[in-house]
């Protein structure tokens, strides 16, 4: 019951948070000194044609009126049309969302798979050579620029060794689309060749995206384990003769992971938004490439749509983290 109350209270905040996000992005994007009507009309249009288009698009109205209309449309799921392509933005975003989510999940799995064990090892072997090496690696992971790493990985694994695909989500056009998640679609349709190809294409972009996240998790896990490892109950378990691996991986980790789980929630949102750069380099047909194109074209409505989707995912994931917290640490319900 308490858990349901928590979820509901978080959901109540969802709407005003989203409204705040839309408000900010709408007005900020209108600060950009572009004329959407002129962009749509093209460089060959005359001033009269541009004026006519401006009126047709409602751009001759005051900004607050335009915002009111946008919110009204948004309430019905209509994000408007791209200035540049004239396509429905919601369709474009929904079409690309699975690609980005799939990449983000893959990166998250890699980040957790690398970051949490490395953090535990670093804590258990505190101040040893292993700990020092892991600390250097994690700082490097945080410092390295994604676009640089992506290009280096491409040059080495794709061009020089020829082991990895250079870019794209799949070699051809992928499995029959059911959910838009190629891993799931390949499995559902029993297309093992596509599954293999999809995973193969995912390795480099997911690793590039995962590296800074893994570095963060190493540091948080290390700090969490160090905090817990000196607790009385751990001393008691040691005195009882429990094997060290059991104590660490079962009893210490559960308590140490509380702050790490919070980080995982934040990191997921950051990965989702950070996919912009990685997707552009690896030509991953997701929201990131859409955002890059929209920014380059000053397609304000498309940028707005992208920001809303990122905001929804970010808020949603953090809600999920709060719920998970209640399972890991039931005290949060009190």
């Amino acid at each position: 019951m308490r858990r349901l109350e928590l979820v509901l209270s978080r959901l109540v905040w969802f709407i005003p948070t989203l409204f705040g996000l839309v408000f900010l992005v709408f007005f900020i994007s209108n600060v950009i000194p572009t004329d959407p009507a002129r962009i749509v009309a093209g460089e060959n249009a005359t001033e009269a044609q541009v004026q006519a288009l401006r009126a047709e698009m409602g751009l001759d109205q005051p900004l607050h009126v335009q915002f009111g209309r946008y919110i009204g449309d948004l309430a019905t799921g209509d994000m408007g049309r791209s200035l540049y392509t004239r396509r429905a933005i919601s369709d474009d975003l929904m079409h690309r969302l699975p690609a980005t989510l799939e990449l983000t999940f893959a990166a998250m799995i890699i980040a957790i798979g690398l970051g949490v064990p490395a953090g535990v090892i670093s804590a258990v072997r505190r101040n040893s050579l292993t700990d020092q090496v892991l600390r250097v690696l994690s700082v490097s992971g945080l410092a390295v620029a994604s676009f640089w790493l992506a290009m280096e990985l491409q040059m080495f694994f794709s061009t020089r060794l020829g082991w990895m695909p250079l870019n794209g989500r799949v070699s051809g056009w992928g499995p029959d689309e059911i959910t838009g998640f190629y891993v799931i679609d390949s499995i559902l349709s029993g297309d093992w060749e596509s599954l293999r190809d999809t995973l193969h294409h995912m390795i480099l972009p997911a690793f590039t995206l995962a590296l800074p996240a893994a570095a963060t998790l190493v540091r948080f896990t290390r700090a969490g384990v160090l905090e817990v490892i000196n607790s009385n109950y751990v001393t008691y378990e040691r005195a009882m003769g429990f094997p060290t691996p059991l104590i660490i991986w079962k009893y210490v980790l559960r308590n140490a992971l509380i702050s790490t789980v919070t980080q995982i929630g934040l990191i997921f949102g950051a990965l989702f938004a950070g996919a912009v750069v990685v997707e552009a380099v690896f030509d991953w047909p997701g929201l990131g490439t859409y955002a890059v194109q929209s920014i380059l074209q000053s397609d304000t409505k498309a940028i707005l749509g992208f920001s809303i989707i990122v905001g929804i995912v970010f808020i949603g994931v953090n809600l999920l983290v709060d719920i998970i917290h209640t399972f890991i640490d039931p005290r949060t319900l009190k």
Binding site: T34, N44, L53, R87, Q154, G162, N167, L296
Partner: protein, 534 residues
């Protein structure tokens, strides 16, 4: 419990840890070892633009021309370099005595992809659609022809009645891409002229039919065997155009053999990298894409001839062309491409700071006590050539004691600013591409008063020039038109209305197996029906 194991073997826990990774590796590795050679029957092109709409009438940019050229046909078609028009859907045309009515005679053997024959009614519908939407090439036709003034004389004859005589109309009809009127009308929703339908469907007669399309990735076209122009012995069965935003990824993809061709306007270091790569051929052609610094002739101090003459002598043309561009472009002394007709015989301004100082002194003598303000150059973010040109100009002017501020913005931002004389920066370096191969595309649109302030962004107005440009727009005698454009361009040159730097060279990078790329500045070599693999 003791845990014993033989050296070199794994215990249960290690097996559990390593097993899934090894399984994943074994699953994925075979595809690592499998080379993606690509089909010889399919040409794969990587481009930096998104193919986010297939509608031939809502976009007109050169970057997305591949969908229009390969899925649709126009009345005439631009080919080769220097560009020439060849009969295409139309075999010929007549012009009435008053030069207002243009009658085009259409082929009678043209089929749409769905097998229905193309008639003059389809041309009429296409023109009306372009005029109604007013986008893409439609914006070029709107000043020339009113809706309702295109009629089907019979099934294979179509007549256009223009608002005023136009010598460039024939140059533009290649942009009238004909759609299947019955199919589009069937799919119209709420009077949208089939916009929702044509965004991701094709209704054309073009050399390729659409077989796959994903706006996030690109498209695949399949050869249309029944195309009216027929096919030679060699051709590509399929063409695939993919959007690959990152230049480095496109380059590596071509060198690896993932792609067979790329967009042809690359930076000098990238061209050099491709030239050194095995299996890659770089085709070189002088294009018609003039790089220049547009100057605001309507704002002080640039509204003074002596000051502008100082400006044109303060730019290091040779340094820019030979050092920064590494000789990959050709000096172009005026706004009209040197490889087109209508170009006056002028030497071109040179980098001469002494001369610039003389002109500046003359300006100061005319404006005693006036302090020269800081000039502002707007550049295109992401286009390093524009930023380098601005920096070079800044350096030249610094030696003359003139301060320059450089502000970089994305193209939509800077282009919006340019089209308003109040917000147009003092100078903007950018390219003028080929929409149609007629001097009006350059000298007319950039310096003629009728195109201000949208295309003539310089606020340059000269009765002498306007008179000639207007006359050239209605004159049908080619020699006379050439004289008029030469005179107009010569005057704009003498007025130092801009800083004209180079004509771009197109370096089309292709796999060495790709032959017969027929480059034309109007379509940038993306009309794929002529190409084949060998």
């Amino acid at each position: 419990m003791t845990n014993t194991k033989k050296p070199g073997t794994l215990n249960r826990r290690e097996m559990l840890a390593i097993g899934p990774l090894a399984g994943l590796g074994a699953f994925v590795v075979p595809s690592i070892l499998r080379a993606d050679t690509g089909s010889t029957g399919r040409y794969v092109h990587a481009n930096n633009s998104a193919y986010d709409t297939l509608d031939p009438h809502t976009v007109g940019d050169v970057a997305r021309v591949a969908t229009r050229l390969n899925f649709y046909d126009g009345l005439y078609r631009w080919v080769d370099n220097p560009p020439r028009q060849i009969p295409w859907l139309a075999t010929s045309h007549d012009v009435s005595e008053d030069r207002l009515t243009w009658t085009f005679h259409l082929r009678d053997d043209v089929m749409f992809h769905d097998g229905t024959p193309m008639t003059a009614n389809d041309v009429v519908y296409s023109v009306e659609r372009m005029l109604e939407l007013g986008l893409g090439a439609g914006a070029l036709f709107l000043p020339m022809i009113d809706p309702g003034n295109t009629v089907a004389v019979d099934d294979h004859t179509v007549a256009f009645t223009l608002k005023e005589p136009s010598a460039i109309f024939a140059s533009l009809v290649g942009d009238i891409y004909v759609v299947n009127s019955a199919l589009v009308q069937e799919n119209e929703v709420d009077g949208d002229w089939g916009q929702a339908f044509l965004i991701e469907n094709i209704a054309g007669t073009g050399s390729y039919t659409l077989s796959r399309y994903d706006p996030a990735r690109g498209f695949i076209g399949e050869r249309f065997a029944d195309h009216f122009a027929g096919w030679g012995d060699k051709y590509f069965d399929e063409i695939e155009f993919r959007t690959v935003l990152e230049t480095n990824t496109r380059l590596q993809g071509l060198m690896r053999g993932d792609y067979h061709g790329l967009d042809g306007y690359l930076a000098p270091d990238q061209i050099q990298r491709l030239r050194e790569a095995d299996g890659v051929t770089v085709n070189e052609e002088e294009s018609m894409r003039v790089f220049h610094l547009a100057m605001h002739n309507g704002r002080a101090p640039l509204n003074d001839l002596n000051f502008r003459l100082a400006m044109v002598h303060a730019f290091d043309y040779d340094g820019y062309i030979n050092q920064i561009m590494q000789g990959t472009v050709a000096r172009n002394p005026t706004i009209v491409p040197g490889n087109l007709w209508g170009v006056p015989d002028v030497p071109g301004y040179t980098y001469d700071l002494e001369k610039a100082r003389e002109y500046l002194d003359a300006y100061r003598a005319e404006h005693p006590g006036e302090e020269i303000r800081t000039l502002k150059i707007g550049t295109l973010a992401g286009f390093s050539e524009t930023e380098q040109a601005a920096a070079l100009m800044q350096n030249g002017l610094a030696q003359l004691g003139i301060n320059v501020e450089i502000e970089s913005s994305p193209w939509p931002v800077i282009s919006t600013a340019m089209q308003n004389p109040e917000t147009m920066p003092d100078m903007v370096p950018y390219w003028k591409s080929t929409y149609y191969a007629d001097p009006n595309n350059w000298i007319g649109e950039l310096y003629g008063s009728r195109y201000a302030p949208t295309r003539n962004v310089s606020s340059y107005h000269s009765e002498y020039v306007d008179e000639r440009l207007e006359q050239a727009l209605i004159e049908t005698d080619q020699a006379e038109r050439e004289r008029l454009y030469q005179e107009a361009t010569q005057r704009v040159y003498e007025d130092a209305a801009g800083i004209w730097i180079y004509n771009t060279k197109w370096f089309g990078p292709y796999a060495s197996s790709v032959k017969n790329i027929r480059f034309c500045p109007v379509g940038n070599g993306q009309d794929m029906r002529w190409a084949y693999a060998e």
